[in-house]
């Protein structure tokens, strides 16, 4: 990578992390949401161990999808509103790299903390130790995909004043493959079956998303600011 591009990448990453740090109370909201949604299920169904254990991978992953989607706003919204996005687009550096830097920063402040909260939620849902470790593995591979794919949806809707609902309609269907493979990985682990097939599939999705999503989001941003 051209040294000035990597410098610009690091500058965007550092700036976004610093901005997140200065708004750190806002960052807690998606995490509280993540924990609360999972906690609602035992209250709404029954605290029965076998039932919760059956639901655990799916419920935790659905909550992670929703929390990731709610946190997408911070990716481009404020940059769009104060004109910084125009400056980023007009920078001579490849826009896809700068978008990737923003997505990495977004994952570090949303996806990564969810990964750290997962053991707590696993205990709520009676997941055994091995299940919790597998859950964390799927979150480690899966949440970056959520941030990357979400960036495309956010880039498309950033110019709309009330884009929130449209964003969820655009993004949630794209999250379905991640949900299916992640939840089935944990299920397979709980049934003492091999999980390598599903994990490879998740890894493939991550590679695909890293390669294509920044390019697609960059193109969408250019359309959105016109």
């Amino acid at each position: 990578m051209n040294p000035s591009v990597s410098q610009a990448f690091m500058a965007v990453l550092k700036r976004d992390l610093m901005l997140s740090y200065r708004h750190r109370n806002e960052l807690l909201n998606p995490l509280f949401f993540f924990v609360l949604v999972v906690m609602l299920f035992p209250l709404g169904t029954s605290p029965d161990k076998s039932l919760l254990l059956t639901m655990a991978p799916g419920v935790i992953w659905v909550a992670a999808l929703l929390a990731a989607m709610l946190s997408l706003e911070i990716l481009f919204r404020s940059d769009y509103e104060d004109g910084t996005l125009e400056q980023i687009i007009l920078s001579p550096h490849p826009l896809a790299m700068l978008v990737l830097a923003k997505v990495v920063a977004h994952w570090l402040v949303t996806g990564f903390p969810m990964l750290l909260l997962a053991p707590l939620l696993g205990i709520f849902m009676y997941l055994p130790e091995q299940g919790i470790i597998t859950l964390m593995l799927t979150l480690l591979i899966g949440t970056p995909v959520l941030s990357l794919v979400g960036a495309i949806g956010m880039a498309l809707t950033v110019g709309l004043r009330r884009g929130g609902m449209l964003l969820s309609l655009l993004v949630l269907p794209l999250y379905i493959p991640v949900l299916i493979f992640s939840a089935s990985t944990v299920d397979a682990q709980l049934a003492n079956l091999g999980i390598s097939g599903q994990v490879y599939f998740l890894c493939a999705m991550l590679v695909l998303a890293i390669t294509l999503a920044p390019v697609a989001a960059a193109a969408a941003l250019k359309i959105s600011i016109e």
């Binding site: 500058a11 700036r15 610093m18 404020s78 104060d82 687009i89 007009l90 920078s91 001579p92 490849p94």
Partner: protein, 214 residues
């Protein structure tokens, strides 16, 4: 050779034609002030010239090459300041400029501090921009003019919320830019004062009601 040319560009907003068949030719040392009533398409024209928007017809050429084909070779030469300040309120002036510097490939701390000092922001470098006044925020954005190496400056309403001293500074920067062979385009409702060089005005016409076909 430095030249920015437009060939028959047209711009449409919604169902209205803002302008059509616009030919401009700007060479090193030229200043073009775009005038016109509100809604006449000044900002749209500047955004087209910056490559942020596409013209409905025609093309924009930099050194006789279409800017969309030049991509980063054109953006390297360009400084665009829109009427949104592009300043993060949660960052200090110094952090804002350092970030802008990384985007545009200047990042030397001494020149950033010198620019801030010259704009009267000495002592405010490490205060969050949220705590600065509107004029001071504008000044942070305008300090980019001192740091930028760009050949083409496109400034949308640069005089907004500036005091007399800041206006004088701004015009001094304009003069320096034109003398070093730059091109300057700006929109402004007030005349540009005390600048020698090749100054021109483009007056965009007011829309007549007949043109509005809904």
């Amino acid at each position: 050779m430095t030249s920015l040319t437009t060939r028959d560009i047209a711009c449409t907003r919604g169902y209205r034609d803002l302008f059509a068949g616009l030919n401009l030719s700007l060479k090193a040392g030229d200043l073009l002030r775009v005038e016109g009533p509100n809604g006449s398409g000044k900002t749209s024209l500047l955004r087209i010239l910056a490559g942020l928007a596409q013209p409905a017809e025609g093309e924009v050429l930099w050194d006789d090459l279409v800017i969309s084909s030049l991509d980063s070779d054109y953006r390297n030469q360009l400084l665009y300041l829109g009427h949104k300040p592009a300043i993060k309120y949660e960052l200090t002036p110094r952090e804002n400029l350092t970030f802008a510097g990384h985007l545009a490939d200047f990042s030397d701390r001494q020149s950033i501090d010198a620019a801030l000092e010259q704009l009267g922001l000495y002592g405010f470098e490490d205060i969050l921009c949220a705590h600065l006044s509107a004029g001071q925020k504008r000044r942070v954005a305008l300090s980019l003019l001192m740091l930028s190496q760009a050949k083409v400056w496109i400034l949308d309403e640069p005089y907004t919320s500036l005091d007399v001293a800041a206006v004088a500074f701004l015009e001094q920067q304009f003069q320096r830019h034109l003398e070093s062979g730059g091109i300057l385009l700006l929109t402004s409702h007030q005349p540009v004062g005390r600048i020698s060089g090749h100054l021109r005005s483009l007056v965009l016409p007011e829309l007549s009601l007949q043109q509005v076909d809904v």
